[in-house]
Amino acid sequence: MMRPLPIAACLALAFTVHAPAAVAQQTVAGDADNGRMLTYTCVGCHGIEGYKNAYPHYHVPKIGGQSSEFLANALTEYRNGTRKHPTMEVQAQSFSDQDIADIAAFLSSLTQ
């Protein structure tokens, strides 16, 4: 009766597979061209001049030209739920580490 070992192994595997990255995977190289395709949705809020968040009421931030590290951290924190914003948490849920790296690569390449 060696049941505990397989159970422990299963648990370990489950945690390994499902544990989300605590911080952005800096080792993932971003593809800015793919990031360009992934960011059409972002424009609906971040691309309308003067557009404001519903509540609390403030301008949706300027994110083009921020560093890829900052952007990847922000998206990863939204995906993990450690940074709060209803819309951004939902948006980030669907992104893989590669998607986040790609989006960060594209947005960080933007200049004035």
Partner: protein, 142 residues
């Protein structure tokens, strides 16, 4: 004696009502508005001075991490904040202060800021030249 006791009770009741309605005047330096719109008017010059004041909690100023005019972050994980929207900067500081948003340095940096200081800092950094931009037109062909 009886009238003064009555007056005292009335004053006490009135002050309790004020507190309950959130209208009690807070001491300077202790107001903690929850939304951007509840902040006082920001002042650029006072914000610039505040951006150079070392935080008691972290021993660092805003500019020591975010760089000159908020546009030269010392670490790539720190954002550029020069030219960011005034109300967004204020919102971020309010969120760090309340604990809604967490960062090893910023949570402590914002913890002791009062509403006027947040409004001033937001006014100053928003007034600096922007190296960041919104996404208007970034997908157009030309």
């Amino acid at each position: 004696m009886k009238t003064s006791a009555l007056g005292l009770a009335a004053a006490l009741g009135a002050s309790l009502l004020l507190v309950a309605c959130g209208g009690a005047p807070a001491e300077p330096g202790t107001t903690r508005a929850q939304t951007v719109n509840a902040l006082p008017q920001g002042r650029i010059a006072e914000g610039e001075a505040r951006a150079n004041v070392k935080s008691a909690a972290t021993g660092q100023t805003c500019l020591e991490c975010h760089g000159a005019e908020g546009n030269a972050p010392l670490d790539p994980t720190y954002p550029k904040i020069g030219g960011q929207y005034r109300d967004y900067i204020a919102h971020a500081l309010q969120a760090y202060r309340s604990g809604d948003r967490q960062h090893a340095l910023m949570s402590n940096q914002a913890a002791d800021l009062d509403d006027q200081q947040i409004a001033d800092l937001a006014a100053y950094f928003a007034s600096r030249p922007a190296q960041i931009r919104d996404l208007h037109g970034v997908h157009s062909i030309n």
